[in-house]
């Protein structure tokens, strides 16, 4: 900050050269205006109209009333939060344990980084395709593994009661590599001095993990928690490939974004979809704000 202020003073003499910086920023600012500012304002306007794309009628708050009183919408909200909650609850601690193990390994660190990151480089669409077979109730890989270990099996994606857990498994599998890489990068950034000092005090490996590693990782936990939720609230691709826009079976997989997509581009109810978009938008902002408060992460 101090440096940029110094530069600012020096530059102050050459006011005429300011304009050139706006040229540098032109592409970005053009993008902000055309593809951010205009769409969010237009979306707000549309949410007060009944619209099929060509004919528009002012309806005031009726779209919001319809969205907020729609059981289908609240079901989509529930599904989105349910899948996100368990994805994050499982993936972050699991990823932390795996990353801690990899970090203390004497050989093979790179091998495991690559191995665990492979699912994450796969597109979520292809991953969902593969998982629709992995989770097949009769011939799938997972139920085969479970039954050969003597564990109970379930119908996964074909039963509304368990379908969300199928998606949670897919989501954890796909996201875990990212979580591990982020943890590893931050684990390696902890100063070795802290560990050396603890060793002199006679701390065991587990004690070091508990009293040095974990406290140093709170920022990383917060980062993953927040990015995880931002991604989870926008969930669409995986549930779309598995259950279509309606989130079959029996809407058990329809997320908020899928609801918007179904109303907007299945039914061409742009007004309703825009109102739902704004509700989603407010939910994301409010929830992210709460998360930031709760985790005390500074951006």
């Amino acid at each position: 900050m101090a440096i940029s202020e110094k530069v600012l003073k020096k530059r102050g003499r050459k006011r005429e050269s300011q304009a050139i910086w706006y040229l540098f920023l032109l592409p970005t600012l053009l993008g902000v205006v055309c593809f951010m500012l205009y769409p969010i304002i237009e979306s707000l306007r549309l949410s007060f109209f009944q619209s099929n794309g060509t004919i528009e009628n002012w309806v005031g708050l009726r779209n919001y009333e319809r969205v907020l009183s729609s059981a289908t919408f609240w079901n989509a909200v529930y599904n989105t939060f349910y899948i996100g909650f368990f994805q994050i609850l499982i993936a972050i601690p699991l990823g932390f344990v795996v990353a801690s193990l990899i970090n203390t390994l004497k050989w093979g660190q790179n091998l495991f980084k690559v191995l665990y990151f492979l699912p994450n480089v796969t597109s979520i669409v292809a991953a969902a395709m593969i998982f629709s077979f992995v989770l097949h109730p009769e011939m799938g890989l997972l139920n085969y593994l479970l039954s050969s270990l003597g564990l109970p099996t379930t119908a996964w994606l074909t039963d509304p009661a368990t379908a969300k857990w199928g998606v949670i498994l897919l989501a954890v599998w796909h996201w875990l590599g990212f979580v591990i890489i982020i943890f590893l990068a931050n684990l390696q950034a902890i100063s070795p001095d802290q560990y050396e000092a603890a060793e002199i005090d006679g701390a065991s490996g587990f004690q070091k993990w508990l009293y040095i590693t974990i406290p140093n990782m709170t920022g990383t936990f917060a980062f993953l928690f927040i990015t995880g939720w931002i991604g989870a609230l926008q969930r669409f691709s995986d549930v779309f490939v598995i259950g279509g826009a309606g989130g079959s079976p029996a809407r058990s997989l329809q997320t908020m974004v899928a609801f918007i997509y179904e109303r907007g581009f299945g039914g061409f109810e742009f007004g309703i979809a825009s109102a739902a978009t704004y509700v989603l938008f407010v939910i994301i902002l409010a929830f992210t704000f709460l998360n930031l408060k709760a985790t005390k992460l500074k951006i």
């Binding site: 050269s17 592409p27 050989w107 191995l115 597109s123 011939m139 890989l141």
Partner: protein, 283 residues
């Protein structure tokens, strides 16, 4: 404490950790191994092989044959490549220029503009879907690649990362060039752009991964089969066939996954570094 036994204990601990990680790692990539196995199974479209086998009974290229037959996947590859490469070039150039201006520039409204650009990261694509669709519909650009390419002008996270990068480069570089009478564009393109190699690589990787995998926006603006990108092609195949044609689906999945995995194996150091950079706490 006896040093030999201490070393032995470390060794044993390492072996145990290694084995645990390896077993869990194999479990993680088991779906890929199974995908490849089923894709080579001649009978998998009729009857999915059960119990799962590593090497199928009737090994054949049949499924790949069908997948390639109508050329759709190759066209999808071509489409995805056109869209992704154009988007990456545009987004990374715009982000580098923007980041440079926010780092080294002095102009009115610098701080507020930077905050505004960062704030756009909070607004997902999904929240702009309908107005963006209508906008491109009005100008008659639906069913073209423009709606996929043009919005990459704004790459807020890239602007942020490159600003941080340029912040680390000394201002003395600029001052020396200014004394020689070089203009701002000349300074940027002849000095800073060449120093920005590492951050450029990171931005290319991150931008490539997000554009290559995008589904919902192409789904909305592309309705013509010949324009489908890879994710769109896979999703429509999957929705049409469900879990009926195991062999073909797996061959298709393999065709989309394996090139990316191979590219990843070659570039893994850079990719992993880039991902890690996106999640490292700033100073």
């Amino acid at each position: 404490m006896n040093t030999a036994t201490y070393k032995q204990r470390i060794l044993v601990a390492n072996i145990i950790k290694f084995v645990v990680l390896l077993l869990f790692g194999i479990l993680m990539i088991a779906p890929f191994i199974w995908m490849v196995s089923v894709s080579f199974d001649r009978m998998a479209n009729v009857q999915m092989p059960f119990p799962p086998k590593l090497i199928p009974e009737n090994v054949s290229l049949f499924n790949y044959h069908i997948v390639f037959e109508n050329g759709q996947i190759l066209r999808a590859y071509l489409n995805s490549t056109i869209v992704t490469v154009s988007s990456v070039v545009i987004s990374v150039s715009a982000a580098l220029m923007g980041g440079y201006a926010f780092s080294k520039g002095t102009f009115a409204g610098k701080k507020i503009l930077f905050v505004a650009v960062l704030a756009t990261m909070m607004i997902p694509m999904e929240a702009r879907l309908i107005p963006m669709y209508q906008m491109f519909n009005k100008v008659g650009l639906l069913n073209s690649f423009w709606p996929l390419i043009l919005p990459s002008l704004l790459y807020a996270f890239g602007v942020f990362l490159s600003k941080q990068f340029f912040d680390q480069l000394p201002d003395s570089l600029r001052e020396a060039a200014q004394i020689d009478g070089a203009g701002e564009f000349k300074i940027f393109f002849q000095i800073f752009f060449f120093l920005a190699g590492p951050i450029t690589a990171t931005l290319i990787i991150l931008s490539f991964m997000s554009h290559w995998n995008e589904l919902i926006w192409p789904l909305v603006v592309l309705t013509r089969d010949t324009l489908q990108t890879i994710p769109l092609f896979l999703a429509s195949f999957s929705l049409e066939n469900g879990t009926r044609l195991a062999g073909m689906t797996m061959a298709l999945a393999a065709m989309s996954v394996l090139p990316i995995i191979i590219a990843f194996l070659f570039l893994q150091r850079y990719i992993i570094q880039s991902i890690a950079l996106s999640g490292l706490k700033g100073e």
